[in-house]
Symmetry: none
Subunit: 237 residues, 2 copies
Amino acid sequence: MIARREVILEALGQAHELEALQDSIVRLRDHFRVDHLVYHWVSSNGEQYGCGTYPDAWVQRYLDKDYLRVDPVIIGCFQRFHPVDWKRLDWSSKAARGFQADAIAHGIGNQGFSVPIRGPIGQFALFTASHHCSDEDWARFTASNRRDLILIAHEFNQKALELEPGRSQEQSRALSPREIDAMTLVAMGYSRAQIADTLSISEHTLRVYIESARSKLGALNTTHAVAKALSRGLIVV
Amino acid sequence: MIARREVILEALGQAHELEALQDSIVRLRDHFRVDHLVYHWVSSNGEQYGCGTYPDAWVQRYLDKDYLRVDPVIIGCFQRFHPVDWKRLDWSSKAARGFQADAIAHGIGNQGFSVPIRGPIGQFALFTASHHCSDEDWARFTASNRRDLILIAHEFNQKALELEPGRSQEQSRALSPREIDAMTLVAMGYSRAQIADTLSISEHTLRVYIESARSKLGALNTTHAVAKALSRGLIVV
DNA sequence: ATTACCCTCCCCTAAAATAGCGAGGGGGTG
DNA sequence: CACCCCCTCGCTATTTTAGGGGAGGGTAAT
Protein backbone atom coordinates (compact mmCIF):
# COMPACT_ATOMS: atom_id res chain seq x y z
CA MET A 1 0.00 0.00 0.00
CA ILE A 2 2.66 2.42 1.04
CA ALA A 3 4.74 1.24 -1.86
CA ARG A 4 1.97 2.20 -4.19
CA ARG A 5 1.77 5.69 -2.79
CA GLU A 6 5.48 6.03 -3.34
CA VAL A 7 5.02 4.96 -6.92
CA ILE A 8 2.42 7.62 -7.50
CA LEU A 9 4.59 10.28 -5.90
CA GLU A 10 7.42 9.10 -8.07
CA ALA A 11 5.24 9.58 -11.12
CA LEU A 12 4.33 13.00 -9.79
CA GLY A 13 7.99 13.83 -9.51
CA GLN A 14 8.51 12.99 -13.14
CA ALA A 15 5.45 14.80 -14.40
CA HIS A 16 6.33 17.34 -17.04
CA GLU A 17 2.92 18.66 -17.89
CA LEU A 18 -0.12 19.89 -16.06
CA GLU A 19 -2.07 16.97 -17.50
CA ALA A 20 0.24 14.61 -15.64
CA LEU A 21 -0.64 16.45 -12.41
CA GLN A 22 -4.28 15.83 -13.08
CA ASP A 23 -3.50 12.20 -13.74
CA SER A 24 -1.52 11.92 -10.51
CA ILE A 25 -4.25 13.45 -8.43
CA VAL A 26 -6.82 11.01 -9.80
CA ARG A 27 -4.58 8.10 -8.98
CA LEU A 28 -3.88 9.44 -5.52
CA ARG A 29 -7.60 9.77 -4.95
CA ASP A 30 -8.08 6.14 -5.93
CA HIS A 31 -5.23 5.16 -3.65
CA PHE A 32 -6.70 6.96 -0.65
CA ARG A 33 -10.19 5.76 -1.52
CA VAL A 34 -11.75 9.16 -0.98
CA ASP A 35 -14.35 10.91 -3.09
CA HIS A 36 -12.20 13.90 -4.01
CA LEU A 37 -8.68 15.23 -3.86
CA VAL A 38 -8.13 18.84 -4.89
CA TYR A 39 -5.27 21.28 -5.20
CA HIS A 40 -6.42 24.89 -5.17
CA TRP A 41 -4.14 27.87 -5.69
CA VAL A 42 -5.26 31.36 -4.74
CA SER A 43 -3.17 34.33 -5.76
CA SER A 44 -3.18 37.47 -3.65
CA ASN A 45 -4.91 39.35 -6.45
CA GLY A 46 -7.79 36.88 -6.45
CA GLU A 47 -6.69 34.70 -9.37
CA GLN A 48 -7.29 31.02 -8.93
CA TYR A 49 -5.93 27.81 -10.29
CA GLY A 50 -7.41 24.45 -9.49
CA CYS A 51 -6.60 20.85 -10.18
CA GLY A 52 -8.42 17.86 -8.84
CA THR A 53 -11.37 15.56 -9.02
CA TYR A 54 -14.26 17.90 -8.33
CA PRO A 55 -16.96 17.68 -10.99
CA ASP A 56 -16.69 20.37 -13.65
CA ALA A 57 -20.16 21.62 -12.79
CA TRP A 58 -19.06 22.41 -9.25
CA VAL A 59 -15.86 24.11 -10.34
CA GLN A 60 -17.81 26.27 -12.76
CA ARG A 61 -20.38 27.12 -10.14
CA TYR A 62 -17.64 27.95 -7.64
CA LEU A 63 -16.16 30.43 -10.10
CA ASP A 64 -19.49 31.85 -11.23
CA LYS A 65 -20.75 32.43 -7.73
CA ASP A 66 -17.40 33.80 -6.56
CA TYR A 67 -17.53 31.27 -3.74
CA LEU A 68 -13.91 32.03 -3.00
CA ARG A 69 -15.11 34.89 -0.81
CA VAL A 70 -17.58 32.72 1.04
CA ASP A 71 -15.97 29.30 1.26
CA PRO A 72 -15.27 28.63 4.95
CA VAL A 73 -12.46 26.29 3.94
CA ILE A 74 -10.63 29.13 2.21
CA ILE A 75 -11.43 31.67 4.90
CA GLY A 76 -10.55 29.31 7.72
CA CYS A 77 -7.34 27.98 6.25
CA PHE A 78 -6.28 31.46 5.24
CA GLN A 79 -5.90 32.42 8.86
CA ARG A 80 -4.56 29.14 10.11
CA PHE A 81 -1.18 27.55 10.25
CA HIS A 82 -1.98 23.91 10.20
CA PRO A 83 -4.05 21.33 8.40
CA VAL A 84 -7.64 21.40 9.50
CA ASP A 85 -10.67 19.18 9.46
CA TRP A 86 -13.69 20.85 7.91
CA LYS A 87 -15.69 20.19 11.04
CA ARG A 88 -13.51 22.62 12.94
CA LEU A 89 -14.28 25.46 10.57
CA ASP A 90 -16.94 28.09 11.07
CA TRP A 91 -20.00 27.14 9.03
CA SER A 92 -22.36 29.33 10.99
CA SER A 93 -22.73 32.32 8.69
CA LYS A 94 -25.65 32.41 6.32
CA ALA A 95 -23.43 32.55 3.26
CA ALA A 96 -21.44 29.57 4.54
CA ARG A 97 -24.58 27.48 5.03
CA GLY A 98 -25.76 28.25 1.53
CA PHE A 99 -22.37 27.34 0.17
CA GLN A 100 -22.34 24.10 2.13
CA ALA A 101 -25.74 23.06 0.85
CA ASP A 102 -24.71 23.85 -2.71
CA ALA A 103 -21.48 21.91 -2.33
CA ILE A 104 -23.20 18.82 -0.99
CA ALA A 105 -25.75 19.08 -3.78
CA HIS A 106 -22.82 18.89 -6.21
CA GLY A 107 -21.57 15.74 -4.54
CA ILE A 108 -18.68 17.19 -2.59
CA GLY A 109 -19.19 15.12 0.53
CA ASN A 110 -19.75 16.09 4.12
CA GLN A 111 -16.20 15.43 5.33
CA GLY A 112 -13.04 17.24 4.41
CA PHE A 113 -9.45 17.78 5.43
CA SER A 114 -7.44 20.67 4.03
CA VAL A 115 -3.73 21.43 4.18
CA PRO A 116 -2.82 25.11 3.74
CA ILE A 117 0.43 25.92 1.96
CA ARG A 118 2.05 29.32 1.90
CA GLY A 119 4.67 31.10 -0.09
CA PRO A 120 7.02 34.01 0.47
CA ILE A 121 4.85 36.87 -0.65
CA GLY A 122 1.40 35.89 0.44
CA GLN A 123 0.93 33.06 -2.02
CA PHE A 124 -1.62 30.64 -0.75
CA ALA A 125 -2.69 27.19 -1.82
CA LEU A 126 -4.84 24.42 -0.39
CA PHE A 127 -4.65 20.69 -0.75
CA THR A 128 -7.91 19.09 0.22
CA ALA A 129 -9.24 15.58 0.67
CA SER A 130 -13.00 15.31 0.76
CA HIS A 131 -15.27 12.36 1.34
CA HIS A 132 -18.76 11.24 2.19
CA CYS A 133 -18.82 9.16 5.35
CA SER A 134 -19.45 9.18 9.07
CA ASP A 135 -17.52 11.32 11.52
CA GLU A 136 -15.90 8.25 13.03
CA ASP A 137 -14.70 6.87 9.72
CA TRP A 138 -13.34 10.27 8.76
CA ALA A 139 -11.54 10.67 12.05
CA ARG A 140 -9.87 7.32 11.47
CA PHE A 141 -8.94 8.28 7.94
CA THR A 142 -7.42 11.63 8.87
CA ALA A 143 -5.58 10.20 11.84
CA SER A 144 -3.83 7.61 9.71
CA ASN A 145 -3.25 9.70 6.58
CA ARG A 146 -2.62 13.16 7.98
CA ARG A 147 1.13 13.04 7.47
CA ASP A 148 0.88 11.60 4.00
CA LEU A 149 -1.52 14.32 3.01
CA ILE A 150 0.83 17.01 4.29
CA LEU A 151 3.71 15.55 2.32
CA ILE A 152 1.66 15.16 -0.82
CA ALA A 153 0.44 18.72 -0.46
CA HIS A 154 4.05 19.87 -0.46
CA GLU A 155 5.10 17.73 -3.39
CA PHE A 156 2.06 18.76 -5.31
CA ASN A 157 2.54 22.45 -4.69
CA GLN A 158 6.19 22.26 -5.67
CA LYS A 159 5.32 20.47 -8.88
CA ALA A 160 2.51 22.86 -9.72
CA LEU A 161 4.86 25.80 -9.26
CA GLU A 162 7.54 24.23 -11.42
CA LEU A 163 5.10 23.55 -14.18
CA GLU A 164 3.60 26.99 -14.15
CA PRO A 165 6.55 29.15 -13.19
CA GLY A 166 4.82 32.37 -14.09
CA ARG A 167 3.11 32.38 -10.75
CA SER A 168 6.22 31.99 -8.68
CA GLN A 169 8.51 34.36 -10.50
CA GLU A 170 7.34 37.93 -10.66
CA GLN A 171 10.90 38.82 -9.84
CA SER A 172 11.96 42.40 -9.47
CA ARG A 173 15.34 43.99 -9.78
CA ALA A 174 16.99 43.68 -6.42
CA LEU A 175 17.74 46.76 -4.38
CA SER A 176 21.30 47.78 -3.65
CA PRO A 177 22.50 47.34 -0.04
CA ARG A 178 22.29 51.01 0.66
CA GLU A 179 18.82 51.17 -0.81
CA ILE A 180 17.78 48.29 1.40
CA ASP A 181 19.17 50.09 4.43
CA ALA A 182 17.31 53.22 3.47
CA MET A 183 14.02 51.53 2.70
CA THR A 184 14.17 49.42 5.84
CA LEU A 185 14.57 52.48 8.01
CA VAL A 186 11.88 54.30 6.08
CA ALA A 187 9.55 51.37 6.71
CA MET A 188 10.45 51.53 10.37
CA GLY A 189 8.98 54.99 10.51
CA TYR A 190 12.04 57.13 11.01
CA SER A 191 12.21 60.58 9.50
CA ARG A 192 14.63 61.28 6.70
CA ALA A 193 16.79 63.34 9.01
CA GLN A 194 17.02 60.47 11.49
CA ILE A 195 17.76 57.96 8.74
CA ALA A 196 20.44 60.12 7.18
CA ASP A 197 21.98 60.47 10.59
CA THR A 198 21.77 56.74 11.26
CA LEU A 199 23.36 55.88 7.95
CA SER A 200 25.88 58.71 8.29
CA ILE A 201 25.03 60.23 4.94
CA SER A 202 23.50 63.50 3.93
CA GLU A 203 19.77 63.73 3.78
CA HIS A 204 20.05 64.45 0.10
CA THR A 205 21.94 61.25 -0.57
CA LEU A 206 19.28 59.43 1.33
CA ARG A 207 16.71 60.88 -1.00
CA VAL A 208 18.62 59.55 -3.97
CA TYR A 209 18.44 56.03 -2.52
CA ILE A 210 14.77 56.27 -1.78
CA GLU A 211 14.11 57.66 -5.22
CA SER A 212 16.12 55.00 -6.98
CA ALA A 213 14.44 52.28 -4.94
CA ARG A 214 11.08 53.78 -5.79
CA SER A 215 12.02 53.82 -9.43
CA LYS A 216 13.28 50.22 -9.40
CA LEU A 217 10.15 49.01 -7.70
CA GLY A 218 7.93 50.86 -10.10
CA ALA A 219 6.25 52.51 -7.16
CA LEU A 220 4.19 55.66 -7.31
CA ASN A 221 5.62 57.14 -4.12
CA THR A 222 7.72 56.29 -1.08
CA THR A 223 4.94 54.61 0.83
CA HIS A 224 4.08 52.53 -2.19
CA ALA A 225 7.72 51.57 -2.53
CA VAL A 226 7.80 50.42 1.08
CA ALA A 227 4.66 48.39 0.54
CA LYS A 228 6.11 46.77 -2.57
CA ALA A 229 9.45 46.08 -0.97
CA LEU A 230 7.73 44.48 2.00
CA SER A 231 5.40 42.41 -0.17
CA ARG A 232 8.30 41.16 -2.23
CA GLY A 233 10.32 40.32 0.81
CA LEU A 234 13.10 42.71 -0.19
CA ILE A 235 13.09 44.30 3.23
CA VAL A 236 12.07 42.96 6.61
CA VAL A 237 10.74 45.14 9.38
CA MET B 1 14.68 3.13 12.93
CA ILE B 2 11.45 4.52 11.64
CA ALA B 3 9.70 3.23 14.71
CA ARG B 4 12.10 5.23 16.82
CA ARG B 5 11.38 8.40 14.95
CA GLU B 6 7.71 7.80 15.56
CA VAL B 7 8.39 7.42 19.23
CA ILE B 8 10.19 10.73 19.36
CA LEU B 9 7.41 12.46 17.46
CA GLU B 10 4.97 10.90 19.85
CA ALA B 11 6.90 12.36 22.73
CA LEU B 12 6.90 15.68 20.93
CA GLY B 13 3.14 15.46 20.63
CA GLN B 14 2.83 15.04 24.35
CA ALA B 15 5.27 17.77 25.25
CA HIS B 16 3.72 20.33 27.54
CA GLU B 17 6.63 22.63 28.10
CA LEU B 18 9.26 24.33 26.05
CA GLU B 19 11.91 22.29 27.82
CA ALA B 20 10.32 19.16 26.38
CA LEU B 21 10.71 20.67 22.93
CA GLN B 22 14.38 21.16 23.57
CA ASP B 23 14.59 17.59 24.76
CA SER B 24 12.81 16.32 21.66
CA ILE B 25 15.06 18.22 19.31
CA VAL B 26 18.16 16.79 20.93
CA ARG B 27 16.79 13.29 20.60
CA LEU B 28 15.81 13.87 17.02
CA ARG B 29 19.30 15.11 16.30
CA ASP B 30 20.73 11.93 17.76
CA HIS B 31 18.29 9.91 15.72
CA PHE B 32 19.26 11.57 12.47
CA ARG B 33 22.93 11.50 13.42
CA VAL B 34 23.53 15.08 12.35
CA ASP B 35 25.53 17.77 14.12
CA HIS B 36 22.65 20.15 14.66
CA LEU B 37 18.91 20.44 14.43
CA VAL B 38 17.39 23.86 14.94
CA TYR B 39 13.98 25.47 14.99
CA HIS B 40 14.13 29.20 14.41
CA TRP B 41 11.13 31.48 14.58
CA VAL B 42 11.29 34.99 13.15
CA SER B 43 8.49 37.38 13.92
CA SER B 44 7.61 40.09 11.47
CA ASN B 45 8.87 42.73 13.87
CA GLY B 46 12.28 41.15 14.03
CA GLU B 47 11.81 39.23 17.26
CA GLN B 48 13.34 35.82 17.28
CA TYR B 49 12.85 32.58 19.10
CA GLY B 50 15.18 29.67 18.72
CA CYS B 51 15.32 26.13 19.93
CA GLY B 52 17.89 23.57 18.99
CA THR B 53 21.35 22.22 19.41
CA TYR B 54 23.49 25.15 18.30
CA PRO B 55 26.10 26.07 20.88
CA ASP B 56 25.10 28.95 23.14
CA ALA B 57 28.10 30.94 22.01
CA TRP B 58 26.90 30.89 18.44
CA VAL B 59 23.34 31.79 19.36
CA GLN B 60 24.60 34.74 21.39
CA ARG B 61 26.87 35.86 18.60
CA TYR B 62 24.04 35.55 16.10
CA LEU B 63 21.93 37.88 18.21
CA ASP B 64 24.75 40.27 19.03
CA LYS B 65 25.83 40.67 15.44
CA ASP B 66 22.26 40.92 14.18
CA TYR B 67 23.09 38.12 11.76
CA LEU B 68 19.41 37.78 11.02
CA ARG B 69 19.83 40.48 8.41
CA VAL B 70 22.82 38.79 6.83
CA ASP B 71 22.18 35.06 7.16
CA PRO B 72 21.74 33.70 3.63
CA VAL B 73 19.66 30.87 5.04
CA ILE B 74 17.11 33.32 6.38
CA ILE B 75 17.22 35.55 3.34
CA GLY B 76 17.07 32.66 0.91
CA CYS B 77 14.31 30.75 2.65
CA PHE B 78 12.35 33.91 3.16
CA GLN B 79 11.78 34.20 -0.55
CA ARG B 80 11.41 30.52 -1.27
CA PHE B 81 8.57 28.07 -1.06
CA HIS B 82 10.31 24.84 -0.53
CA PRO B 83 12.97 23.20 1.57
CA VAL B 84 16.41 24.10 0.36
CA ASP B 85 19.92 22.81 0.64
CA TRP B 86 22.36 25.46 1.85
CA LYS B 87 24.52 24.92 -1.19
CA ARG B 88 21.77 26.34 -3.37
CA LEU B 89 21.71 29.60 -1.46
CA ASP B 90 23.59 32.74 -2.38
CA TRP B 91 26.77 32.95 -0.31
CA SER B 92 28.49 35.37 -2.63
CA SER B 93 28.05 38.63 -0.80
CA LYS B 94 30.78 39.86 1.45
CA ALA B 95 28.55 39.85 4.51
CA ALA B 96 27.43 36.31 3.74
CA ARG B 97 31.01 35.09 3.46
CA GLY B 98 31.91 36.66 6.78
CA PHE B 99 28.85 35.09 8.33
CA GLN B 100 29.72 31.71 6.88
CA ALA B 101 33.26 31.83 8.19
CA ASP B 102 32.00 32.83 11.63
CA ALA B 103 29.41 30.05 11.61
CA ILE B 104 31.93 27.39 10.70
CA ALA B 105 34.29 28.73 13.35
CA HIS B 106 31.49 28.10 15.83
CA GLY B 107 31.15 24.52 14.68
CA ILE B 108 28.00 24.84 12.62
CA GLY B 109 29.09 22.56 9.81
CA ASN B 110 29.41 23.10 6.09
CA GLN B 111 26.20 21.35 5.10
CA GLY B 112 22.66 22.34 5.85
CA PHE B 113 19.07 21.73 4.86
CA SER B 114 16.33 24.15 5.89
CA VAL B 115 12.57 23.84 5.73
CA PRO B 116 10.69 27.16 5.65
CA ILE B 117 7.33 27.31 7.40
CA ARG B 118 4.87 30.12 7.03
CA GLY B 119 1.82 31.42 8.78
CA PRO B 120 -1.20 33.46 7.80
CA ILE B 121 0.17 36.93 8.39
CA GLY B 122 3.76 36.67 7.40
CA GLN B 123 4.88 34.54 10.31
CA PHE B 124 8.01 32.75 9.36
CA ALA B 125 9.95 29.91 10.87
CA LEU B 126 12.78 27.65 9.80
CA PHE B 127 13.58 24.10 10.69
CA THR B 128 17.18 23.32 9.87
CA ALA B 129 19.40 20.27 9.88
CA SER B 130 23.11 21.03 9.72
CA HIS B 131 26.09 18.75 9.51
CA HIS B 132 29.76 18.52 8.73
CA CYS B 133 30.41 16.09 5.90
CA SER B 134 31.07 15.75 2.19
CA ASP B 135 28.66 16.93 -0.47
CA GLU B 136 27.96 13.34 -1.49
CA ASP B 137 27.12 12.18 2.01
CA TRP B 138 24.89 15.16 2.53
CA ALA B 139 23.09 14.58 -0.75
CA ARG B 140 22.40 11.02 0.33
CA PHE B 141 21.18 12.19 3.73
CA THR B 142 18.82 14.83 2.38
CA ALA B 143 17.48 12.52 -0.30
CA SER B 144 16.49 9.91 2.22
CA ASN B 145 15.32 12.19 5.04
CA ARG B 146 13.79 15.10 3.17
CA ARG B 147 10.22 14.04 3.78
CA ASP B 148 10.79 13.24 7.42
CA LEU B 149 12.35 16.64 7.95
CA ILE B 150 9.38 18.37 6.35
CA LEU B 151 6.97 16.49 8.59
CA ILE B 152 9.00 17.13 11.70
CA ALA B 153 9.23 20.80 10.81
CA HIS B 154 5.45 20.92 10.71
CA GLU B 155 4.96 19.01 13.95
CA PHE B 156 7.56 21.11 15.63
CA ASN B 157 6.13 24.39 14.49
CA GLN B 158 2.66 23.37 15.58
CA LYS B 159 3.93 22.39 18.98
CA ALA B 160 6.00 25.52 19.42
CA LEU B 161 2.96 27.63 18.60
CA GLU B 162 0.78 25.76 21.04
CA LEU B 163 3.29 26.14 23.81
CA GLU B 164 3.88 29.81 23.26
CA PRO B 165 0.57 31.09 22.00
CA GLY B 166 1.57 34.69 22.50
CA ARG B 167 3.46 34.65 19.25
CA SER B 168 0.63 33.35 17.15
CA GLN B 169 -1.86 35.79 18.56
CA GLU B 170 -0.10 39.13 18.71
CA GLN B 171 -3.48 40.62 18.12
CA SER B 172 -3.74 44.27 17.43
CA ARG B 173 -6.85 46.33 17.57
CA ALA B 174 -8.47 45.83 14.23
CA LEU B 175 -8.89 48.77 11.92
CA SER B 176 -12.33 50.04 11.08
CA PRO B 177 -13.62 49.28 7.56
CA ARG B 178 -13.04 52.82 6.44
CA GLU B 179 -9.56 52.80 7.89
CA ILE B 180 -8.80 49.60 6.01
CA ASP B 181 -10.04 51.17 2.80
CA ALA B 182 -7.90 54.21 3.38
CA MET B 183 -4.76 52.34 4.37
CA THR B 184 -5.11 49.90 1.50
CA LEU B 185 -5.27 52.70 -1.02
CA VAL B 186 -2.41 54.50 0.69
CA ALA B 187 -0.34 51.34 0.42
CA MET B 188 -1.23 51.12 -3.24
CA GLY B 189 0.51 54.40 -3.78
CA TYR B 190 -2.39 56.68 -4.57
CA SER B 191 -2.27 60.29 -3.47
CA ARG B 192 -4.62 61.47 -0.79
CA ALA B 193 -6.59 63.44 -3.35
CA GLN B 194 -7.09 60.32 -5.46
CA ILE B 195 -8.01 58.25 -2.43
CA ALA B 196 -10.47 60.80 -1.14
CA ASP B 197 -12.01 60.85 -4.59
CA THR B 198 -12.13 57.07 -4.77
CA LEU B 199 -13.75 56.78 -1.37
CA SER B 200 -16.01 59.76 -2.08
CA ILE B 201 -14.98 61.62 1.04
CA SER B 202 -13.16 64.84 1.60
CA GLU B 203 -9.42 64.74 1.82
CA HIS B 204 -9.64 66.00 5.39
CA THR B 205 -11.77 63.06 6.37
CA LEU B 206 -9.33 60.76 4.74
CA ARG B 207 -6.60 62.23 6.90
CA VAL B 208 -8.56 61.41 10.00
CA TYR B 209 -8.74 57.76 8.97
CA ILE B 210 -5.08 57.61 8.23
CA GLU B 211 -4.30 59.34 11.49
CA SER B 212 -6.51 57.06 13.55
CA ALA B 213 -5.06 54.01 11.85
CA ARG B 214 -1.59 55.31 12.55
CA SER B 215 -2.52 55.85 16.16
CA LYS B 216 -4.06 52.40 16.55
CA LEU B 217 -1.05 50.76 15.01
CA GLY B 218 1.31 52.70 17.21
CA ALA B 219 3.12 53.85 14.12
CA LEU B 220 5.43 56.82 13.93
CA ASN B 221 4.11 58.03 10.60
CA THR B 222 1.95 57.01 7.68
CA THR B 223 4.58 54.91 5.96
CA HIS B 224 5.27 53.12 9.20
CA ALA B 225 1.57 52.51 9.61
CA VAL B 226 1.37 50.97 6.15
CA ALA B 227 4.33 48.74 6.94
CA LYS B 228 2.75 47.61 10.19
CA ALA B 229 -0.65 47.04 8.65
CA LEU B 230 0.94 44.95 5.91
CA SER B 231 3.04 42.96 8.33
CA ARG B 232 0.04 42.22 10.49
CA GLY B 233 -2.05 41.21 7.54
CA LEU B 234 -4.59 43.93 8.25
CA ILE B 235 -4.45 45.05 4.66
CA VAL B 236 -3.58 43.21 1.48
CA VAL B 237 -2.13 44.87 -1.57
C1' DA C 1 -28.62 56.87 28.97
C1' DT C 2 -24.09 57.18 29.20
C1' DT C 3 -20.15 55.62 26.99
C1' DA C 4 -17.61 54.45 23.14
C1' DC C 5 -16.56 54.13 18.65
C1' DC C 6 -17.28 55.31 13.77
C1' DC C 7 -17.96 58.57 10.00
C1' DT C 8 -17.86 63.06 8.23
C1' DC C 9 -16.13 67.81 7.76
C1' DC C 10 -13.06 72.08 8.57
C1' DC C 11 -8.95 74.89 10.25
C1' DC C 12 -3.92 75.59 10.97
C1' DT C 13 1.58 75.25 10.40
C1' DA C 14 5.69 72.75 9.67
C1' DA C 15 7.79 68.98 7.64
C1' DA C 16 8.37 65.89 3.96
C1' DA C 17 8.15 64.37 -0.69
C1' DT C 18 8.83 65.14 -5.42
C1' DA C 19 11.24 67.10 -9.27
C1' DG C 20 14.71 69.24 -11.82
C1' DC C 21 19.48 70.59 -12.51
C1' DG C 22 24.26 69.49 -11.52
C1' DA C 23 29.17 66.93 -9.97
C1' DG C 24 32.88 63.52 -8.72
C1' DG C 25 35.16 59.08 -7.17
C1' DG C 26 35.01 54.00 -6.94
C1' DG C 27 34.10 49.27 -8.58
C1' DG C 28 33.17 45.90 -11.49
C1' DT C 29 32.43 43.86 -16.62
C1' DG C 30 32.55 43.54 -21.48
C1' DC D 1 39.59 51.24 -21.83
C1' DA D 2 34.99 52.60 -21.81
C1' DC D 3 30.68 51.72 -19.74
C1' DC D 4 27.45 51.14 -16.22
C1' DC D 5 26.11 51.07 -11.69
C1' DC D 6 26.86 52.30 -6.92
C1' DC D 7 27.91 55.75 -3.55
C1' DT D 8 28.33 60.47 -2.23
C1' DC D 9 27.17 65.44 -2.24
C1' DG D 10 25.41 70.16 -3.81
C1' DC D 11 21.43 73.57 -5.10
C1' DT D 12 16.43 75.37 -5.96
C1' DA D 13 11.73 74.96 -6.49
C1' DT D 14 6.85 73.48 -5.99
C1' DT D 15 3.51 70.43 -4.29
C1' DT D 16 1.90 67.18 -0.91
C1' DT D 17 1.64 65.21 3.44
C1' DA D 18 1.87 65.12 8.45
C1' DG D 19 0.12 65.88 12.62
C1' DG D 20 -2.26 68.75 15.75
C1' DG D 21 -6.52 71.06 16.90
C1' DG D 22 -12.11 71.21 17.16
C1' DA D 23 -17.04 69.72 16.09
C1' DG D 24 -21.28 67.37 14.89
C1' DG D 25 -24.21 63.26 14.06
C1' DG D 26 -24.71 58.32 13.70
C1' DT D 27 -24.85 53.51 15.77
C1' DA D 28 -24.19 49.95 19.22
C1' DA D 29 -23.31 48.15 23.40
C1' DT D 30 -23.30 48.50 28.43
